[in-house]
Amino acid sequence: MKMPWTRLRELGIVGMNQRNAEFIMPYNQRRYYPLVDNKIITKQRAIEKNIPVPQLYGHIELEHQAAHLPALLSQYTEFVIKPANGSGGNGIMVIAGKTASGHFRKSNDSVVHIDEIKHHVSNILSGMYSLGGETDTAIIEYRVKFDPCFENVSFKGVPDIRLIVFRGIPLFAMIRLPTRQSDGRANLHQGAVGVGIDLGTGLTHHGVMQSRPILEHPDTGFPLTGIQIPQWDRILEMAATCYELAPLGYLGVDLVMDRELGPMMLELNARPGLAIQIANQQGLEPILKYAQTLGTIPASAKRRVKVGKLIRQKFAREST
């Protein structure tokens, strides 16, 4: 009987300490963090690199600007308000439409008064959701229209695709599907389903929910495996290009599928979590260690995607 830590080592599972010491600290320079922590900067740089992002409707930096909020919002019926420096999907308010009486309606069908929205914005400004508790900016942006390809496997909310891009090479991918338990959020900690995506083909395999393997979506009952992610190569290329807008060696890229506009980059993460290993049933370590040894990294994103696919082929998990 082997000790669990020896087993995990053999499987190449990276722990939190190892991730911090061996991948984040050496590859992610602190001075580049604002590029990913501030979503306004990320958005601007992404537009420069021709990466599609949800359109920015406006941002509010100071308390008194909140007075202009009704005028700004009146143009739109659907939008998302979130903190520019938020983390972990906190502080996001999704407005899905307007009621007949002219009030806004949240994605969970509850009605919100404009004062409530103002209060939420001022909470964001006072730094309630920002990383260090510093004052923050609220951004108002396009609400992603949910692509029907995931309709059968998500409950309310929008599924998002998470990729780990190491030294510019996309190496790991999963899709996070909201459930009733996660209250429509694509957050694995809160009970969303994580499904690993085969990097070569874009087909889903292996679902996990709360660390347990799962075959069907708990709310809809549809199988989680074998779903083809549309425009997969485009997604990989977008993720690889993100390395050029924020030169972080160990980067998490979050994308969503829009019904009309196709894949969009939602946000970047300088400290991507480790749950992707569970969703993929495969450890990061051997793959990242191998990618560390590569001498030259191709300059074009397309070539990096190819390298990523080759590496994953080399380290393909024994099929089960």
């Binding site: 669990p4 959701y129 209250d183 660390s211 569970i278 049933q281």
Partner: protein, 512 residues
Amino acid sequence: MKSSKINITALVLILIALSAVYYKHEKLGLPLKPAEQSDVWTVEAKIQFKANGGPAKAQFYIPRDPPGFIKLNEDFISSNYGLATEQNALNREALWAVRRAKGKQVLYYRMELTRNGSEFKPRTQPRPAYPPVPDYDEPLGAAIRALLSDVRSHSADIATFTRELLSRLNTPKPDQNISLINKAGHGSVEWVRQLIDILAGARIPARIVYVLPLQDLVKHGTLVPWIEVHNDFEWVAFDPVSGRQGFREDVLVWRTGDDPLITVSGGEPGEVDFSISRHALSQVSIAEQWARQTDSRLMDFSLFALPVQTQNVYRIILMVPLGALVIVVLRNLIGLSTFGTFMPVLIALAFRETSLLWGVIMFTMLVVVGLALRLYLEKLKLLLVPRLAAVLTIVIMMIALFSIVSVQLDLERGLSVALFPVVILAMTIERMSIVLEENGSQEAFKLGTGSLIAAIIGYLVMTHEWLGHIIFVFPETLLIVLALTLILGRYTGYRLLELWRFRGLIKEADKP
């Protein structure tokens, strides 16, 4: 490369700390255990004499480096007398002088001593010449010569010679010669002086040493004459009555030589009375007093040099790094998540005031009630900072209420909460309510209990009696804490809870 550098740094830090601890323990006698106590003897000499009315001087022998003891403290109590102390290779003297004195004069000399565990230093000073053989009065001379020749044939060297001589003189059934010699009064000063004379007959250098037998609660002690013989290397002491070699543990060597103990000029000859008492004192204070006596620079720069109040503050502050180390272990080795990094340390410090059980009850109650009120405040849509201030105010009012209620219920513990870190508590309530709202009650409960567990463990470590003693008496041990933190800073292995988190992967991989 990097981690070897850290290991070397950590090793150096640990070595520095350990050698400082070793030095302070071995050389200064600072104890490694908190409750270690030693006997401290207080010896007081009361000197009385009658002054004639003119200038008066009193010269009094006091102990100089008594073998086997450490002098912790000494006092000269002498109202209007001027005082000087002098010492030579053998003895130390106190010289009291006054311009005008009439009638009964009382002077005191008091010292505090404790036993020094280490071996006696050999007494070598001064190196005597061989004494000439004295001319004894007859018939004593014949008796002495007979005794000496008998003893010589039964001994090998000076020590055995002396022992043999003493055992013959102390025999319960003395023969004619011995009875003649013991006429001087067995054990008296004259008898010991005569003993020196007898030893001179064998050309053995000998001298009188006055010792004070230490016994608790002695009111009128006197000095007892002992004898020392020189064996070409050092002076060897003998109890002339028992014949035992060496100073016993319970005798204090007062002075060497046979001059009068006290010399008074300008007055009637004085008398000296000794009183002795014993009490137990913690070794920390003994070491502290002794180091002050010996002018140790190390003690000057220790925490004991601070005023007692400041010392008490440092007793708490110096434990905080240990609390931080606990947090490092819990977070990076165990994988426990808490509200804020060092919030549990502050809560643990608050538990010091309230005791653990009450602290936990207080903390839980304040957080639960505060959280409920905070959720009500949420409805009022206050801005963040005013809301925090409101929560803070509510927390303080709750604490006050708690104290008042506990007084009514005769629960004294409720009073000790005043120092509960209210600001930290208010922030905790605020953060907890956000987590509750954003991530659900499960996550909030997980973080809340994580913080409480960390606070409890932190409290247990930070209030540990032995650790507290070691850190305060040997603050350099904080270097060890620092070294451990450095080493843990490079730990890249799994956290304990990650083994649980990734258990599904192992199960899956182990499937046939």
